[in-house]
Symmetry: C2
Subunit: 97 residues, 2 copies
DNA sequence: CTTATTTGGTTTATTTTATAAACTACTTTA
DNA sequence: TAAAGTAGTTTATAAAATAAACCAAATAAG
């Protein structure tokens, strides 16, 4: 009847992060923060979880002298996102189409 | 960019309850429990929240001598569900269709 | 120069949620 | 009449989300 919703993706902020990253080659911390309107603390925590799950890559580097964290989605992340959407459909019925 | 996801609906079990109720005139506790595979305790709590939010009606009656709790969705509930879906679409992009 | 202030974060603490476990009240069955 | 089942509720615990506090380095202002 109802498919299980991957709890890692069933979170407003993490879903937004993945949604952003899926349509772009990479995005940095500040950009994601702006787009999602998340606080830095919250974003930091959620990025960490997504990385530990293997859904995103996180690279810490520098933009000139300023630190810069760049994120990109992984193959695993893409798959998880697509599965999540497919599971969601079991809840949304024909309302979706 | 990303619309806010009503936190009351952005919960696996509550979403399942609403999803069930939206396509049916009413459903009782036991039926919802079976369909959602929730534990009775969890279901009781979540039904309570949906009722307090005005998203569902809850009627306590009897089926012969056994207690029976019947739920149905309200107009408010329908609206909230539809808004939730519309907000979701801002996260799912074209992946949805 | 040296002292704010800003930037780009992380860590820790608090609040909120979800979930499970324990319990209640009554009914049916053995 | 004692045990087991039904239909839930209440309470306790675990997990999650979020905010607040913090840190290190860079830049701006006096």
């Amino acid at each position: 009847m109802f498919k299980e919703l991957n709890p890692l993706l069933h979170s407003e902020l993490r879903l937004a992060i993945i949604s952003l990253l899926i349509s772009v080659e990479s995005a940095d911390f500040v950009y994601i923060k702006e787009q999602t309107k998340a606080t830095a603390g919250n974003l930091s925590v959620q990025i960490d979880k997504l990385q530990k799950a293997g859904y995103i890559n996180v690279q810490k580097g520098f933009n000139g002298k300023m630190p810069r964290t760049t994120c990109s989605i992984t193959e695993n992340g893409i798959n998880a996102f697509e599965e999540y959407i497919s599971a969601l459909k079991s809840y949304l019925g024909d309302k979706l189409r």
